[in-house]
Symmetry: none
Subunit: 260 residues, 3 copies
């Protein structure tokens, strides 16, 4: 019975479910909406952050538009949070993909305004203050602090452009400290992004630090892995699942007195 799946589809997507005439559409309702989205363990807003990361990375404008619309229409994420999502996503999946997400958000905001018969608020320039400290030394120092807070490991040396101008000056010296998405929210974007990027070390470091910091519990992490697998495939999901399982075993062992 796909009735529960159809209900879950409407709740999540804010539109009518498809007729389930192909194996793909049946599986969409029965698996994706009935067995994944309808699960407890994560809020719908959290599942949206994971899903938006996956659909924006997958270069599929149909699903991207549909999920941007649903996030806005449900009120689960407001325009400022979604704008911030796009900047964070740009860092982890690159600017070209993010530019498509940016366009998608603007078209879906427009669509929703039209549906609601509201005038869309005009955008104005963001304040310069929102760009963070101007002083390079202060910025790098705060970048190092933020790096340690997020990664729970020492900051890298300032010896390469990647680490200096990139990671400490911009990624941790600015992006992770911005308002509108919390550090925990940003983990719900970062984990799927590193999962789909296939880079072993970043997967390891972001999964481990999310669990070790207590920002994300192991049961929440398991839900992230399942949500990710549905949208970005079981092949990549398996890697994320293994890293999460191993990391949790190690963290648990450390915390249990009298174990090795």
């Amino acid at each position: 019975m796909a009735l529960r799946g159809a209900q879950s589809y409407s709740d999540v997507m804010m539109t009518e479910p498809p007729s389930s005439s192909s194996p793909f559409e049946s599986a969409t309702l029965e698996f994706l909406f009935e067995q994944v989205w309808a699960r407890p363990g994560l809020s719908r807003r959290q599942r949206r952050l994971v899903t938006l990361s996956c659909v924006c990375a997958a270069d599929t404008t149909g699903p991207m538009d549909a999920h941007m619309y649903a996030a806005l229409a449900s009120g689960d994420l407001d325009p400022e949070e979604l704008q911030e999502f796009i900047l964070h996503f740009a860092v982890y999946c690159g600017w070209p993909k993010a530019s498509v997400a940016q366009t998608s958000l603007l078209t879906q905001l427009h669509r929703l305004s039209e549906e609601r018969g509201e005038e869309m608020a005009p955008w104005s320039d963001l304040p310069l203050a929102s760009l963070g400290p101007a002083d390079h030394e202060e910025r790098l120092r705060k970048g190092e602090e933020c790096f340690v807070e997020v990664n729970l490991t020492p900051a890298p040396p300032l010896t390469t452009p990647y680490f200096q101008a990139g990671i400490l000056n911009f990624v941790f010296g600015h992006v992770w400290q911005r308002p509108n998405l919390s550090r925990i929210d940003r983990r719900y974007v970062t984990i799927p992004c590193v999962g789909l990027s296939d880079a072993a070390m970043p997967i390891q470091s972001h999964v481990v630090s999310a669990l070790r910091s207590g920002d994300i519990s192991i049961s929440e992490m398991n839900e992230i892995v399942l949500q990710f697998s549905a949208y970005y495939g079981f092949a990549k999901g398996e890697v994320l699942n293994r890293v999460a399982t191993d990391a949790w075993a190690e963290i648990t062992a450390e915390r249990t007195p009298g174990t090795a």
Copy 2:
């Protein structure tokens, strides 16, 4: 109950199923193996060609090794067919990813030989004959013929290196004509590869020509889409599903006399 899923897992993967302790592992057995692999409509060998394309593209050595092993151990694909798969995959997803698949195949052949207590047959140099005609003109002419046969559209002009040195000289002038995988087999590799590559025009052209040629029926195509979605995610699966559905509607309309 994931009993049927566990049985399907053993049949497909040729190893014991995982204990289903996390949401990901439960979904692996219940969805991936019980509701996808166990479906009728495609042979297990055909599902393997789709799946191998996805896991080799996903850069996940664990799943890649497991599926290479399973393909060999089940006898569904022999070493020569898998070698040929790797070359075809290289063309559509690029050389770097294929070189990892090449290593995976060799390690899994070795693993299987050890398990069976057999000596692994030494590889010998392939005959030069297998590289196809040396004469450039003949090669390009045959490439044009093969292009038309596969794509059901006229061959492109020889005006760019991409079309001349790449598409007509190498891809259709040689690879698609090689033995060990049939033209139909190669479609089971090409369709997932273009699906995950997100390139709208290649998705369109390969889905349409597979259906229009009769090499792949619409019900087989629908199964390919589901198998692909499981391994490469519903986000990209949705695009493939839509293209297949639209293409089939158009082909059906053309074939029905008296319809527009």
Copy 3:
């Protein structure tokens, strides 16, 4: 005959060619090295920038290490240029993938020092000056100028975090203006990165502006497309090829008096 392919392999990779025992390895020598790398039309250094972008994006540490080593060992790109490549690549393909490239570069520098019996020069902190202007207003203004110079279109408004903090403050306000890679060099990295990212608008804008500015000629662009197709697959290559061909037709028409 793969003799020329084997010679080209040694010249490019700075190591011995593989024995060509599998279809994949034979095609590597015959197609990739004899028919692609050995072509005129781009310098080997330019082909390396395209190839490094592809192998770093493909998440394949073997090929990535091999190409980093070859770039260094040949002297085609020095460590500072490769460090700069990694930062530029991070912007277009995301930081997780770039962090793997960063590690690869350091290990290959170490390998080369050992082979040459030289002590590897210790890295020291980069100067703060290399982070560009501290003043936010100046930075955004220069970012707008650089955006126009690279894209040949007006800069976007400062209304979203993606455009303000990201594109104008960091990507064009800093990265594109850094030393060690010229603007033209950066195009040889950006074009493959947008090509593999599948985002239609960025592909369009970077291909068009590279041609229109005269930074890259149409014959160079055609070679980029072939090199890219070999390393990231013909599926994505086809898109890049079409955009380049269409863009060039349009530019030529504009420049020809008396045509529409």
